[in-house]
């Protein structure tokens, strides 16, 4: 449980962090909350030569409303998101998702940016940012670029983040009109990770029918994904019980579900279907 020796740098600004990382893009690793990286280092499964600690860069931790967007700094902790009164009002999916993560200690240190950049197949935030169709702002030696959440998650623990780049900000379009959101999760009893996690946002027309549904799924496949078949089955529908149940059965379409000691592929897909249904119903019930 002792990591191999490594260098540690705690830059005061993001620019400094980017240049430290650029000096050794393959050997250096960004440290935020450290709740995935540090355990992996202690088990020597990860052996970076240098850690660039961005958790101390004050300007990276914020939750702001700007025009029709919600801006979230990458090192904002799960607890800050869970307890944000602003988010509870304008985008309750985010606090709901934050609340479901790990335990108090984890939420107090772990960050939204770290979770997204790590892309754990059972991480909660990837499902939420997919359902909210977030933009992710990445900064590297060549400047900034913006990637849609749907394009960011590439494969198991693999993202579009290039060596030398840092995830700086999460941008979410403020939900408007009649909308409902929910995060529905089956946590692993030991780790709290999502065996399945379903993030739902639905927008309703004035007559109560479904205008659009956005559903992010985590825990099921090698990476989080949008349940497009389920979304398509809901769009334009009346969202009555039968339609919701039948749409939810498509939640693992096109995905080869993970299997591990806790849940077989069949069981995991079944859980996802049941919880997709409950998630959609909960989102519908939350519409004001």
């Amino acid at each position: 449980m002792i990591p191999v020796p490594f260098d540690y740098q705690a830059p005061a600004t993001l620019d400094e962090a980017v240049s430290l990382l650029a000096a050794d893009p393959d050997g250096a690793k960004v440290l935020a909350g450290g709740h995935s990286l540090i355990p992996a280092m202690k088990l020597r499964l990860a052996q970076p030569q240098m850690l660039v600690d961005i958790a101390r860069i004050k300007s990276l931790s914020y939750i702001r409303e700007e025009g029709n967007q919600i801006l979230i700094g990458a090192t904002t902790t799960h607890y800050q998101l869970e307890s944000s009164d602003l988010l509870k009002q304008i985008c309750p999916l985010l606090p709901a998702c934050a609340k479901s993560i790990g335990d108090v200690q984890v939420r107090n240190k772990g960050t939204i940016g770290g979770s997204i950049a790590h892309s754990d197949p059972a991480g909660d935030w990837p499902a939420a940012v997919l359902a909210l169709n977030a933009d992710l702002v990445l900064v590297g030696p060549g400047g900034e670029r913006v990637v849609k959440a749907a394009d960011f998650f590439v494969d198991l623990l693999t993202t579009d983040l290039q060596p030398g780049e840092i995830l700086r900000e999460i941008r979410i379009e403020k939900p408007s009109g009649r909308f409902g959101q929910a995060y529905q999760k089956v946590p692993h009893p030991a780790s709290g990770f999502a065996v399945v996690g379903i993030a739902v946002q639905i927008a309703l027309n004035d007559d109560g029918s479904c205008k659009a549904a956005q559903i992010g799924v985590t825990g099921v496949g090698p990476k989080a994904y949008r349940a497009q078949a389920t979304e398509a089955a809901l769009a334009g529908s009346s969202l009555d019980e039968q339609i919701v149940s039948s749409a939810a059965t498509h939640v693992c379409d096109g995905v080869d579900p993970n299997a591990d000691l806790y849940a077989s592929a069949e069981y995991r897909c079944h859980l996802a279907q049941v919880h997709a249904r409950r998630g959609i119903q909960a989102a519908k019930a939350s519409v004001k």
């Binding site: 020597r44 499964l45 197949p121 623990l157 080869d256």
Partner: protein
């Protein structure tokens, strides 16, 4: 843990088979393979740096090919160990020619133990599938190149990954 899958390669069965038992091609195509040496008629020793994201480990192991029936079948027995844990297993590969396409079907059973199994258990299968997809994509390109032609350049994994994942999805949809 059971591992199985099918990959389609655009080359004749003979060429795919030859590539699969050619240590030079294997070294280029096995993700993270740093060394692959022939130690006997059908035995090889390998050093593989395997991993995804920030999780990595070096494995030393040997591979034995059995029950060779060119060009349609062989059996592979693998033994490996490294700091993060050990793995051993065996699997059968079947090659089926369908027109210009060769289908490679593999089915095997792998045991993984040690640190990587106790903490990474939930990710082992995903990692194995991802590595298999990388391997067969590379092998397809190698087998497709005409004899004597230089093999395609390697080291494009990061960019190619996005394409791989789309490709994996298209396979699983079938």
């Amino acid at each position: 843990m059971k591992l199985e899958g099918t990959h389609e390669l655009e080359a004749t069965r003979e060429r795919v088979y030859q590539s699969l038992v050619n240590p030079e091609v294997l070294q280029r195509c096995i993700p993270g393979c740093e060394r692959l040496e022939r130690t006997g008629d059908n035995t090889f020793a390998a050093t593989i740096r395997a991993g995804v994201g920030s999780i990595k480990g070096v494995f030393e192991g040997n591979v034995q090919l059995e029950d060779l029936r060119e060009p349609e079948h062989f059996r592979m027995v693998v033994n490996g160990k490294g700091a993060p844990g050990f793995l051993k297993g065996s699997g059968d590969l079947e090659l089926l020619q369908e027109g210009a396409i060769t289908k490679v079907k593999y089915a095997g059973d792998v045991q993984v133990g040690g640190t990587i199994a106790s903490v990474g258990q939930r990710m082992i299968q995903g990692t194995a599938k991802m590595m298999a997809a990388q391997f067969f994509t590379c092998l397809g390109a190698e087998a497709k190149a005409a004899p004597g032609e230089p093999p395609p350049k390697q080291g494009f994994f990061r960019n190619a990954l996005r394409w791989f994942s789309g490709w994996i999805k298209s396979i699983f949809r079938k």
